[in-house]
């Protein structure tokens, strides 16, 4: 007697299939990252094929067109954070003179780049995946490959370079807006003197280096993860939708995981002096 054929596979094989799928996706993601780096090297050595002015155009799309979005969201979250912090400090310690100095330290070394990148992961990540995914399902990516152009060189390298530059720039703008909005809230709601709030004595070079390092790594991670999701799109409009979803989740998660890794690394290297 043969065993009954079940339509649903048993848990063990489902787990195995999931694991295999995860490993395969990891390998592909790694290949996209390596391909992008190789594409940059090729571009600098002999000017690889890419549309004219692509980097500038992508910088405009990724950077300038996200400016309002980043400014609005980071401004509001800066106000909320200072409001909650002042509320708590005034209950527990009763002294609000430390709030500003601690806030700018946290903004420079963490919140500025990380929250900017979270916002960019939704906007830019979804955009890159939707664009590349649409090209994939309408077979434009295959057409590129047929004409002897590597799709990663042509599509992903300009986005990668533009995203690295623009994430750093937007992180600086976002951090400044967050700081300004926070100081305004502290002044209007809790009467904290702006001269005491806007005090940069806690910020040192290492905070700045950590913040910039974070911004650069998020700026690199977002286009690689979203490009990978876009290039995996299958089917038609449904596949593009799936790819976009996966890009938003994947790049947001990459930002959080990188933030965690870099923060723990910095804490471990510098100890309590951070």
């Amino acid at each position: 007697m043969s065993a009954p054929v079940s339509r649903r596979p048993d848990p063990v094989s489902r787990l195995g299939a999931g694991g295999l799928g995860g490993v395969r996706a990891g390998v592909e993601l790694w290949l996209v990252l390596i391909g992008t780096i190789a594409g940059i090297v090729r571009m600098f050595r002999r000017g690889a094929a890419r549309p004219k002015g692509a980097i500038v155009e992508q910088m405009w799309v990724i950077g300038n067109r996200s400016l309002l979005f980043v400014a609005v969201t980071l401004g509001f979250i800066g106000m909320v954070m200072i409001y909650q912090a002042c509320l708590q400090f005034s209950r527990a310690i009763g002294d609000l003179s430390q709030v500003g100095t601690q806030f700018i330290r946290l903004i420079v070394s963490d919140f500025g780049p990380t929250l900017t990148a979270m916002m960019l992961a939704t906007r830019v990540g979804a955009g890159i995946a939707a664009e590349i995914g649409s090209m994939k399902v309408t077979e434009q990516v295959d057409a590129l490959r047929m004409s002897g152009v590597l799709p990663i060189d042509y599509l992903l390298v300009p986005r990668f370079l533009a995203s690295v530059v623009m994430t750093v720039a937007l992180a600086i703008v976002g951090a400044a807006i967050m700081y300004a909005a926070g100081g305004l809230t502290a002044y209007l709601s809790f009467g904290v003197n702006p001269r005491i709030f806007y005090d940069l004595q806690m910020v040192e070079g290492k905070h700045l280096i950590l913040g910039l390092l974070k911004a650069v790594s998020y700026g690199a991670a977002i286009p690689v993860v979203s490009g990978f999701c876009g290039l995996r799109a299958r089917g038609s409009s449904e596949g593009v939708g799936w790819a976009t979803t996966a890009a938003v989740v994947g790049s947001s998660f990459a930002v959080i995981a990188l933030d965690f890794a870099l923060s723990v690394g910095a804490l471990w290297l510098l100890g309590g002096d951070l």
Binding site: V72, I77, Y83, T122, A130, S237, V240, V248, D273
Partner: protein
């Protein structure tokens, strides 16, 4: 002239934003109207609850774990300088329960469930399945939209509760691993300094976030134009709109409910 052109584009943008805001408001009103005698497809609701809630638990738990750990790492220099280990749980727990937990979980939920919902409804719209439903005299609002809105609202609240717990566990694990703070001290720090009000503050917020994500994602889904490219663009617009509304709602709720 540059000035004239930029004013024109500013005006066009303002009109486009107003049109979308109006569309979202009308859709929200239609959903509320459909709920008045609560007649909705129960099987569709259960299917959406499972798909949107249960399947999101892993990514939400992972995000929350890292978020809780991050808050401890960020407060570590302050805690070490003051040598006040009992403050670590207070700082991390307060930040997680009131702000970081609900916001990060809502952003992840918007990316996973909201975007997926837009893609699904968008695909149905471009393949004219919504018109098919209307031709069969089935109201798409009642059949498709209302179960999704309810499912997202309920499930975001549940996921935030789970996520808060996981984030506090993550904070305790990282505190033990990185700062060497014992479990008992962390537990005491949580229980002494965190009030039920802090937890409820986050839960109220997640209700508002869930409604906002649901209505915006459905709106951008049913108004898709133009095939596969249009679906991609709609998903992009939906996640951006959801992120902005999460931040704005967070701001207003913090002031109202502080």
């Amino acid at each position: 002239m540059l000035g004239e052109r930029s004013i024109t584009s500013l005006g066009a943008r303002a009109v486009a934003v107003s049109r979308e805001l109006g569309g979202i408001t009308i859709l929200f009103a239609q959903v509320l109207r459909a709920l008045v005698p609560p007649r909705l497809d129960g099987r569709e609701l259960v299917r959406n609850l499972y798909k949107m809630g249960n399947r999101s638990v892993p990514i939400v738990a992972l995000t929350a774990f890292f978020a809780g750990g991050l808050m401890v790492v960020q407060s570590a220099p302050f805690v070490k300088r003051l040598d006040a280990t009992s403050l670590a749980g207070w700082a991390a727990g307060y930040a997680v329960l009131r702000e970081i937990g609900p916001i990060l979980i809502a952003l992840m939920f918007s990316g996973r469930v909201g975007a997926n919902n837009t893609a699904e409804l968008g695909t149905m719209t471009v393949t004219e399945q919504l018109d098919g439903l209307r031709a069969l005299a089935i109201d798409p609002i009642r059949y498709l939209i209302v179960p999704r809105v309810l499912a997202m609202l309920i499930m975001l609240v549940c996921l935030t509760v789970i996520g808060d717990l996981v984030a506090l566990i993550g904070a305790a694990v990282v505190a033990k691993a990185v700062l060497g703070i014992e479990w008992g001290i962390m537990y005491a720090s949580f229980t002494e300094n965190l009030k039920p009000h802090d937890f409820l503050h986050g839960v109220y917020k997640s209700m508002a976030f869930g409604t906002a994500i649901a209505v915006t994602s459905c709106y951008f889904g049913v108004t898709v134009r133009g095939g596969a490219v249009g679906v991609g663009r709609a998903v992009n617009a939906a996640v951006v709109a959801a992120a902005v509304s999460i931040m704005l709602l967070d701001f207003f709720l913090t002031y109202v409910n502080a």
